[in-house]
């Protein structure tokens, strides 16, 4: 308790609040710009923290982390240009809402969802971190294999108006995921003599290409019925979500926060799994699932609550076990060690003052980005009023800068351009792009963990059924596949009864 009071006292000093404010603002901007990921935002701050006291450094890193995840929702909703895979699910309903003139509402519910998820997971971090960190260890290669498989099926299902095309896109993503050095054998797979591909097909250039660059083309290239001209222009709407809408989304936000926190705890599981599983659950539990994908506030709330809940979740194994939950927290660990704070149990004993200061500042950062977001969203919506001929090139420029900045490599920029063209045609031919990107994220998780489980068990496939968590995941996957099929058949029978001629 003493620690908490001390931490509160540290956070509420002028210096700390200033750092918190600047970090939150910087994080939001980083999140909004295509190509600047949370990982990069936190990494960019590491040199700045060098000459700062450890408490302030952590406040800065924490604020940038949580607010950059939130910031990603803004462009995903307004322009359909998610900056990272974390906010792809947000754009599924966010952009249709914007297109129908309800951009401000979508931003509002995204802000409230993010706040909810962020606070929920920070509370989990504060209250039951050591307990939850056991979850991270309970997941072995078998469980990761099934989690990735489940995530993949979910994503294909989410874009289910044309499941075959979703499946094709996912398979293309899985194929792209096989590029690169095979860590098990050292074999170089499909490199085409490009050393840039040794680490695998880089995700962000593909993502930026498929979403941001292709959207820039959409805005610039007038094709009959596709350009956002006078008639279909993004309209401006000033009102925030109604209270009853927020109330309606509470259950979804609650469920998504739990999913996000748990997925966050699992090292290497990926934020996008959490967002898509939550989105799918929200749709499954909804009274009108057919609205999802066409502009349903609950879809935005589900995705955003989940991806912000991941932030607190990832910090749980990072701080309690010294095992970073994702790439951002791995950079975080670097930031901690620079100050001689070695992540692990002693963070909560020997360095408890600093650790609790970080946790307290996360609460504040979440509240601060929500306040800033609610104030700014009124104005941010105006972005959609910029003519496409101007907005398109702007998105393009940010995409190029962002892609180059990833690792100072022109190759990545060409890659983004190539996938921009691919994305443009995928959209024209109605192939969903989300399954491709998510398959690229999940492909390696699926592959290496399947191989690991097989290697450890000496090719005994029963290991997937003899472990409790693994068995539960198998059942969930079977249900996830069987349920839509069953519903479809039932629906068909009902139709036949109504209209026996068919």
């Amino acid at each position: 308790m003493d620690y908490l009071l001390n931490a509160i006292a540290t956070v509420f000093t002028f210096e700390a609040l200033l750092v918190l404010f600047l970090g939150t603002l910087a994080g939001m901007i980083i999140g909004m710009l295509p190509g600047l990921s949370s990982t990069m935002g936190v990494a960019l701050c590491i040199p700045i923290t060098f000459n700062m006291p450890p408490e302030l450094s952590l406040i800065l890193l924490g604020a940038v982390y949580v607010s950059s995840v939130y910031g990603g929702s803004v462009t995903a909703i307004l322009l359909r240009t998610p900056g990272t895979d974390a906010s792809i699910a947000t754009s599924l309903d966010g952009f249709p809402l914007t297109s129908s003139g309800r951009g401000a509402e979508a931003l509002g519910i995204a802000t409230i969802g993010s706040l909810f998820g962020g606070l929920f997971s920070t509370l989990a971090l504060l209250a039951i971190a050591p307990l939850l960190s056991k979850v991270a260890l309970a997941f072995g290669p078998q469980e990761y294999t099934l989690l990735a498989l489940g995530g993949l099926i979910t994503v294909i299902g989410v874009v289910s108006d044309i499941p075959v095309k979703g499946l094709i896109a996912a398979i293309a993503g899985l194929m792209l995921a096989t590029i690169g050095l095979d860590n098990f054998t050292g074999a170089q797979r499909f490199l085409f003599d490009r050393p840039e591909l040794i680490d695998g097909m880089p995700l962000l250039p593909v993502l930026i290409g498929l979403f941001s660059v292709s959207q820039a083309f959409n805005l610039c290239v007038p094709v009959a019925g596709r350009v956002l001209d006078e008639n279909t222009k993004l309209r401006f709407s000033g009102h925030f979500p109604y209270f009853h809408d927020i109330k309606r989304c509470l259950r979804t936000m609650n469920r998504s926060s739990v999913i996000g926190t748990i997925v966050g705890i699992l090292p290497g599981a990926g934020t996008s799994i959490a967002a898509f599983i939550s989105y799918n659950e929200a749709r499954r539990k909804s009274k009108n699932p057919e609205n999802f994908g066409k502009g349903e506030l609950e879809g935005v709330a589900a995705s955003e609550a989940a991806n912000n809940a991941v932030t607190g979740g990832t910090l749980i194994p990072t701080l309690t076990l010294g095992i970073p939950g994702n790439a951002v927290t791995a950079v975080f660990v670097g930031g901690l060690t620079i100050h001689g704070l070695i992540p692990g149990p002693q963070l909560f004993t020997d360095f408890a003052d600093i650790t609790y200061t970080l946790i307290m500042s996360l609460f504040l950062a979440n509240i601060l980005f929500a306040v800033l977001g609610l104030i700014l969203s009124r104005h941010l919506v105006h972005v959609t009023r910029i003519p496409g001929a101007l907005l398109g090139p702007m998105i393009l420029i940010f995409s190029i800068i962002g892609t180059y900045a990833l690792r100072n490599e022109m190759f990545d920029v060409w890659l983004a351009a190539l996938f921009g063209v691919i994305g443009y045609f995928m959209e024209r031919w109605r192939f969903p792009t989300a399954p491709l990107v998510i398959a690229m994220v999940l492909g390696p998780i699926l592959e290496v963990n399947f191989r690991r489980s097989m290697q450890i068990s000496d090719w005994d496939l029963t290991v997937f059924f003899t472990r409790p968590i693994s068995l539960a995941l198998v059942c969930m996957i079977v249900a996830a596949i069987a349920y839509p099929v069953w519903r479809h058949l039932k629906h068909k029978r009902a139709l036949n009864q109504v209209n026996p001629v068919n």
């Binding site: 060098f50 260890l137 290669p141 050292g186 050393p195 095992i323 950079v331 100072n408």
Partner: protein
Amino acid sequence: MFKKTLLCAAVTVVASAVSLSSAVAAEYPTKPIKMVVAFGAGGSTDTMARIFAKYAEKYIGKRIIVINKTGAGGELGWTFLSRAKPDGYTIGLINSPGVEIYPFTRAETIQYNLEDIRPLVNVVTDPGVLAVSADSPYKTLNDFVAHIKANPGKVTVSHEGVGGDDHLAALTFGKKANVDMNFVAFNGNAEATAALLGGHIDAFEGNMSEAAAQIKSGAVRALAVWAPERVSAIPDVQTGREQGMDIISAASRGIAVPAGVPDDIYQKLMETAKKVVSDEGFRAELAKLNMPVNPMYGKDYEQFMQTTHDTLKSIWDVEPWIVK
């Protein structure tokens, strides 16, 4: 008239270029120096680089800007370093044994020559450790060897990618102990540690600096450290040599410049490097990070890299660890 102006301009350019080149060595550095790190910000190589840069700035009097040029396990960053203008304004971090082995393990695609990189100073030598989780029944290296012998091919040991120093250490261990293990690749220390603590694998092979926190907290038990003598960060852990298993394996990190840097500039950088490495504050910061400082300068460092290259190349030639 135009021609005359052009000629004038040309003369001025040539003249200034000549005066510039003679001034370069005497006044070096006149502008900030770029330091290329082949791994991401916040990683252990990057952290060391930034601490080095902080102290080097103090001695050299100019800003040192760390640039992360990541990809291909360091290859892209080293390619960049090897091709940089050799004027002393681009220096970089190199990691052994990666930098020495890629030219032969990736012979078909490699884009740099080892000769194009001139080593300056080795800073850190981070030895490998073999560890089991705290609740494992094996207390010593020999207990563990006996267990592997009793269960050939069944005992799972993690490493962080084929051809990395921990994989090579695990291979050498298998050969010296004459045992057959089941090696499982993980993407980095975090995943491997989680798998060890969760009981999904039997043992873990990785670098000391990354495992030290878990060893100190008692979560994992190190059976051996692959160093010539005990390491101060984990003084209770016996070396392989003490237990009759003479294996030396480590990841080393040092500073290098593009080959062709003028000698006086190289000397100036060397002086700076020596001051940094012997700086008490610098050593204290690295000690906090469990990174053992092991300075090797100029020729010694070159010799060390050559030996590393030759040893691993001879193993590779007989028994390549990557099946093509």
